[in-house]
């Protein structure tokens, strides 16, 4: 895990200045995420086993695991780690922003 410490101290601001500059902006984004999860709860019908929703919850766990490089690790979690290639894009759907966790990598 020590590789995760390689970027400590690279921001020109102090930790206090970072919080002073960005807390309000990210407070709003945090409440947005909470409201989104509430909205899923409030949706009609049965609980969905959607792979995107599952990956989203796994990503949230990364936020609070105490290690840095969270953005990189979340992007890795949401990435396709397979190596097979289809011949053509014919009939493929657009990007969905996540993959079933069996196709995802270790974050």
């Amino acid at each position: 895990m020590s590789a995760l410490k390689d970027v400590i101290g690279t921001c020109p601001q102090t930790k206090q200045q970072v919080i002073d500059t960005y807390f309000m902006e990210h407070r709003a984004k945090l409440v947005d995420i909470a409201a989104y999860l509430d909205r899923v709860d409030r949706g009609q019908g049965d609980d969905q086993k959607d792979f995107r929703a599952t990956a989203f919850i796994r990503a949230i766990e990364i936020l609070t695991d105490g290690e840095t490089h969270r953005a990189r690790r979340i992007l890795n979690l949401l990435s396709d780690h397979t190596t097979t290639m289809a011949q053509s894009a014919e009939g493929m759907k657009g990007a969905s922003g996540a993959v079933p966790l069996t196709d995802g990598g270790v974050a």
Partner: protein, 266 residues
Amino acid sequence: MSYIDPHIHMVSRTTDDYQRMAQAGCLAITEPAFWAGFDRSSAQGFFDYFRQLTEYEPKRAAQFGIQHFTWLCINPKEADDPGFAREVVSLIPDFLECPNVLGIGEIGLNKNTKNELIILEEQIALAEKYNQLVLVHTPHLEDKLKGTRLIMDALSASSLDPGRILIDHVEEHTVTEVLDRGFWAGMTLYPDTKVTPQRAADIIEMYGNERIWMNSAGDWGCSDPLAVPKAQLEMRRRGHAQASIDKVTLGNPKQFLSQSPNFKLK
């Protein structure tokens, strides 16, 4: 503050945008050939698009004192039909003689298919044959990591110098591999699917300001033609040195693009 936006699709923007960009300090832009939001029905559609990029758009930009440069290719999204793609690629050599053409781009992959890869390899060969710079599009979202690796492998298998190739749309999970393999990296300030000005500043803090630039990739989607000057302000409010801000938004683009004899800043 002066800047260059090295990746923006002005054919999809209004003349007002040129005016606002000039007011914000834009000296030059480079416009890669891309997907128009719909598939063209014939190679002739690309012929007209290449004329727009090489004849019409430089004049529109010049009205506001902005220099317009361009890159030509068939984009990966329309390259899934190899027969059609080859017809379009055959049009490119004649246009390489136009004075504002910097190279081949934005080539790459979209859905990481074998058909896309075949045409990517053929366009890499075109860049080799005509000694052109290369601007690379990487896929979005969950396809980016895999696509970026496939593209870098195809480029590394060619004789092209990685220092003459810019791999665009990097994010936190792809930037280190791109830089470690000797390529240039582009960060695209496109909030929904790529990076915000805040994250671009973070990436520079973590991975340095060598061989990296930022662009708006402004196009017909929800995008911001003033994204680069906004990122300059973001770096400034955090206390980045002016020299470093100038380097990533002006000096680095100048350094990379000047490898093409057609790039001369007035």
